[in-house]
Symmetry: C2
Subunit: 542 residues, 2 copies
């Protein structure tokens, strides 16, 4: 059977727009001889609508869109992810009911509709609702009643949704034991570095353990910093990949259940996938919010250079402006590097001294600012100028924060943290360097090699204020991504005083991260909605 | 039986500190002749530890604290809320396991320990886990196995936790039918306006329907803008309130199960409770984060005047500084009003003109700033000066945003939105006026009566840019708190174009609210963690 995978890039809440794309791809799939076309989880509303689900006209609009899609299913099967409201099986259980919703005994399900010839053949509800990291599905949905097998034409399919295939001895195994010939999984699986290979291994294991081929259809696109990377694929009953759709691209991709293709390799090393994820994240944030251009404060350092290069990839050099804003503490090399970088990237570049404003601020203060107070004035002036330029051009400012500095609060709130989105805030400094080297044709060599400095006081370098990044990065990674305790870190061989210092800095800068722009998630544990730490917190790992 | 209620104000993560308070109150209760002392939900870790629960040394530290508390239980019963990790009953269910935790088949429970004479008599697990609004308990916890009754001395108690008592035909009813003589509920119930009376009605109904008296023990204190208001109380089997501990105050409060007291009224009208909640929220945010003083940018308008008055109540006039930062668009009356207000409130007051900085910024811009771009420069300069003053004094800046302006984005990000906490961001403008009138002895009459203005251009008033607040406030309230759709709002009689405009403004300013400081929640639906809307969102209620 020829199957089309509608690997679409929906916009959250754009139900008419998403529906139009789905209907168009149904027509294309029919014209291409497909018997079935599969769209990922929540293709209709986009992933995730979050509290929009509690707006009384939102789910009905999705139901109405499914009707429209159903009408387009003449002569072809359509499997599409959406949401539905159904009478609650347990009206006394308020756990999934908003305290202020109508509470009228309805339950929401994250579901897949199987449609054909203007009829609903089946509705399949998601059984396992991830409520960790960025996901909060138990906030909204009720789990489905149980795993089933559905017949479509001569194919017995075990249809399940995203998390359902991750569960050992779960729905996939039940469906295989019930006689399914294929597993079809509809996913909206957030990207992080290495995730495509983790998914491949998982799906291959499900297939080989049950002796059943699996189609894994994944969403694509960026949503407020969560990236869905597409790369839908199919494995045979031995778990060999026999089909793979492109990563980070939307479109209709065809394969055949006879799986005649040779084993397909996963392309791209990890870091180039991360680069693609960030580029897609910037592009989609702009496009889906109605913006076309960005502005970056180019300091002459590596973070802003990389953000600019990524922005050029995302929206084109013509849509990117950079501005260099020196103070008396900026070195001449920084200005040269910023200009050279902007020129090599082909973007409009401005040079605006902040000295007069900085001096006026110093003079305005009743007590002369000293030390960190004085240092902070400079990035805040730059933030103000950057936002004014962004407002004048209807451009979005990009924040150059990286994960190492965000972890320890080595930035100035309302200064270098301003922006609509923080593209590299989930990249450790070492990864910033590695990714910048991918742009070594356009990012000047000196930017790639000079010691990092905030240039807020004479002769400052980051390493005057912080442990060196080759020490800092792994401690932050272990503490944040792997929840390592003080004792565990010390046992791993890190210096006691450094571990203490870094853990304290992470805890003390929670308040800053609470006011950062959304970042693009590329690790298993990014700061932001996937990591919910109290600001007021006296717990000290000892 | 005499029972002590340890209505404590724990600090999240301060497990040794919370434990010390608990042990001290156990001793006080014993000395006062109590047979039992009851502490609220999560008294040991504080509410809510959020992702701290996934730190491998956090729950063990709580378990160890319960051991310490147990050792202090000689001759007295202790009922105390904590968390516990137990072997998972269903190791294949990953729904409540962090994707990066050790995943070792353990499950977390929000629980109550009943202790006496150095022994654990019982552990009671929470059954219903709220996962809506500010709560995300399904992210962390597994529900307990079922409702039981426990005997303590000659009393058969149905012990349950917070949400469990809110469920119709739920644990309370089961426990009554199992022969409980008293229901004892341990709560950490977030405050909002009117909540104390909602709780009283709920508990009275449970009592009278089951013919059983109920003790409701509630936490007190502020945690990142969520306020627990205390006010623990007991009702007799007819639902009459026979005992009530003070609201917004911590301490040990005693009552007797013979309930000899007369019916007790709930004191305080709604708005004065809201005022107390905000004062406690400011005070606790400072205290628990190690700060003692605040600074407020006093504009001469009503919002900052009210925030200053609340701050004086929270931390005392000596710990409050105000600063008036006029630009050329500021009226002389504003400066007079700011000075008069500061003087009446007895706080240190500064006057810092931003004109030179503002002019330097205008001059620094390659293209002269106009309109909204020019207007935004002024609050951003003020934000920069305010943060510098705060840094110099080790004070926290308070953000004066209110709910009406936050809803429609009528503020300048990184300008008048800066601060550590936004005390009145959940108050509509009408409530700002009403609460400010409570301070009419110290807030000058002109501040209470003049038309609101941002004073960012000549002769500006809020009503040049916004619908009048008596129109705006109810639309925002209906849209945000009651999830009303466009059609519903129009049917309620609001003008179509105004509804359209307000709904669009709410949606378009999601990105600003994502970068606001935490606010103090005083309504059923506050902006912030209790309302999770996508920034990228094309859903338009029609």
């Amino acid at each position: 059977m020829r199957i089309g995978i509608g690997q679409i890039n929906p916009t959250v809440g754009d139900i008419p727009g998403n529906t139009a794309v789905i209907v168009r791809l149904i027509d294309e799939a029919r014209a291409a001889g497909c018997e079935l076309v599969v769209f990922p989880e929540l293709a209709v509303p986009g992933y995730s609508p979050l509290d929009l689900l509690w707006q009384p006209d939102f789910v009905p609009a999705c139901e109405s869109a499914v009707n429209t899609i159903c009408k387009a299913s003449h002569g072809i099967g359509v499997l599409v992810g959406s949401v539905t409201a159904q009478p609650s099986r347990d009206p006394t259980n308020h756990d999934n009911v908003s305290s202020v919703s109508d509470g009228g005994g309805t339950a929401l399900y994250d579901c897949a509709y199987l449609l054909e010839n203007q009829s609903v053949i089946a509705r399949v509800d998601k059984l396992h609702l991830p409520t960790y990291d960025v996901d909060s599905e138990r906030r909204y949905y009720t789990p489905g009643a149980g795993a089933e097998v559905h017949r479509f034409r001569d194919l017995r399919m075990g249809i399940n949704i995203c998390e359902d295939i991750w569960i050992d001895d779960g729905p996939t195994d039940v469906q295989a034991s019930l006689g399914a010939e294929w597993i079809v999984n509809l996913s909206a699986s957030p990207f992080y570095r290495g995730k495509p290979e983790i998914r491949r291994q998982l799906v291959a294991r499900r297939a080989s353990e049950n002796g059943i081929p699996v189609l894994y259809a994944n969403l694509v696109g960026g949503q407020d910093g969560i990236i869905f990377d597409g790369g839908s694929f199919a494995v045979d009953r031995e778990g060999q990949v026999r089909f793979r759709a492109p990563a980070f691209e939307d479109g209709l991709f065809l394969f055949d259940t006879t799986l005649v293709a040779a084993d397909v390799a996963c392309s791209g090393d990890d870091l180039s996938q991360v680069r693609q994820a960030i580029v897609l994240g910037i592009r989609d944030y702009l496009r889906k919010n109605g913006f076309t251009s960005v502005i970056v404060a180019l300091s002459g350092g590596i973070d802003s250079a990389l953000v600019t290069a990524l922005a050029v990839d995302a929206v084109g050099a013509n849509a990117v402006t950079t501005v260099y804003m020196p103070s008396i503490h900026s070195s001449p090399e920084s200005g040269e590097d910023a200009s050279a970088c902007a020129a090599a990237l082909g973007v409009e570049h401005m040079d605006i001294s902040i000295d007069a404003v900085y001096a006026a601020l110093q003079a305005a203060m009743p007590t002369a600012p000293e030390g960190i107070v004085d240092e902070n004035l400079q990035p805040r002036v730059r933030g103000t100028v950057l936002m004014a330029l962004a407002n004048q051009r209807n451009a979005l400012a990009l924040c150059p924060a990286n994960k190492s500095e965000a972890a320890v609060g080595y930035n100035t709130l309302y200064g270098d943290t301003v922006g609509a989105i923080a593209p590299i805030v989930d990249l450790y400094k070492a990864d910033v360097y590695a990714m910048a080297r991918m742009y070594s044709d356009r990012i000047p060599e000196r930017i790639l090699t000079k010691p990092p400095s905030a240039e807020l006081r004479p002769d400052q370098t980051d390493q005057d204020d912080l442990p060196s990044y080759d020490v800092l990065d792994p401690i932050v990674r272990e503490a944040v991504e792997n929840h390592r305790t003080y004792q565990q870190l010390v046992k791993m061989g890190y210096d006691k005083a450094t571990v203490r210092d870094v853990l304290d800095r992470i805890r003390r800068s929670e308040y800053k991260r609470a006011q950062l722009p959304p970042g693009i998630k590329v690790t298993p544990k990014a700061f932001g909605i996937g990591r919910r730490m109290p600001i007021t917190n006296r717990f000290r790992s000892e």
